[in-house]
């Protein structure tokens, strides 16, 4: 089995079939809160991709080469949340200093990411499930791109829903949640899409 094919398949399955929002339920708060306008959802999504990738690249080696040899693997949650929070601040610092244009489009979403479950969920899941480093990267990449994809799609649907004639009780969040349910059903249908490939 080609490692590259396995890598791509892992990315695709954590992106679509096991989508981070619609089947793993990470990051529902920004999914519902920042999806009214396409622009904001795009900014949020890109910021999440960036932070998840950085967190995956740092947390996995941190766990394997520092926490486990030191005999304190049980401190993982505390360490991860601190690493993620510092990462968010440092990223914000850098783009504030060196790229005002990037800050203009991403800056305001960065502080929101510390309390985004998706980042901690991916970092914690990678080590809890005992994934290898390559698989962790695939998981991080697939998860974050899946988040970007779904939040942008969802915001496009929501802008249409704003003008649609929905019953009064369903206005706002309820109809958005029902829409999310239908999207989840659609993604379930993709399971086993590449089952012709022998692993």
């Amino acid at each position: 089995m080609n490692i590259f094919v396995a890598f791509v398949l892992a990315i695709i399955s954590s992106m679509l079939m096991d989508n981070v929002v619609l089947s793993r339920f990470y990051g529902i708060c920004p999914f519902l809160g920042v999806s009214r306008k396409v622009n904001s959802s795009l900014g949020m999504g890109v910021a999440v991709v960036f932070v998840i990738m950085l967190a995956t690249l740092i947390c996995w080696p941190f766990y394997t080469y520092i926490l486990v040899p030191a005999g304190i693997p049980f401190m993982d949650t505390v360490a991860y949340i601190l690493v993620i929070a510092s990462l968010v601040q440092l990223t914000g610092l850098f783009i504030k200093k060196y790229s005002p244009s990037l800050y203009k489009s991403l800056g305001i979403y960065l502080p929101l990411i510390t309390t985004n479950c998706a980042v901690l969920g991916v970092a914690q899941g990678n080590t809890d499930q005992g994934l290898s480093f390559l698989d962790s990267i695939a998981n991080g990449l697939g998860t974050s791109i899946g988040f970007l994809l779904i939040i942008v799609t969802f915001s496009c649907i929501r802008t249409r829903l704003e003008t649609a004639n929905t019953p009064k009780a369903f206005k706002g969040l309820p109809i958005a949640l029902i829409t999310a349910a239908i999207m989840a059903i659609a993604l379930v249908g993709l399971q086993g899409l590449f089952s012709g490939i022998k692993l």
């Binding site: 679509l16 096991d18 086993g192």
Partner: protein, 177 residues
Amino acid sequence: MANAKHYIFVSITLGSIAAASALLIGGANYLTREKITQNEINSINKGIVAIFGQSAGIIEQKEIANDSYKYVTYYYAVSKEGSDENIGVAYRTTGSNMYGKISLLVGFNLSNEFVSISVISDEQTYAQTLTDNYIVPVQDGTRDYNDVSCGATYGAKLIRDMINDASKANEAQIWKD
């Protein structure tokens, strides 16, 4: 000057919070560690009972580190409670794929026939589909290894490999040496 004092105070506060948190977590770990290892042993015993029926117990166990069987980690000899008569053997297999780690007990009877499997620990993200579509049919006696779709492709191939590995190890009787 006042600024420096303020910063010293702030860093001392933060430092002591961090130290206290580390101590608390360490203490909690110290309190719960034994219980967690005990839980692991209990889950293996439960798995043995699930495979071989009530009143089965482990009489002998051996760690296996053989490179040609990469999933098999432990060997257990099983007997009825209160007697030394051997009624079968079980292998503990541990492996992981892109969905995570899984640990199984694979049981064989004395004439080297496959009996059943039992899950010890399951860290896989999408464990539900695996359990329903694969583990339960195997436990019910189906042994034609149809892969189930899970994610983009197969998720259950790992379990098939683990059972085959244990089966091979049992035929070679690697525990004898």
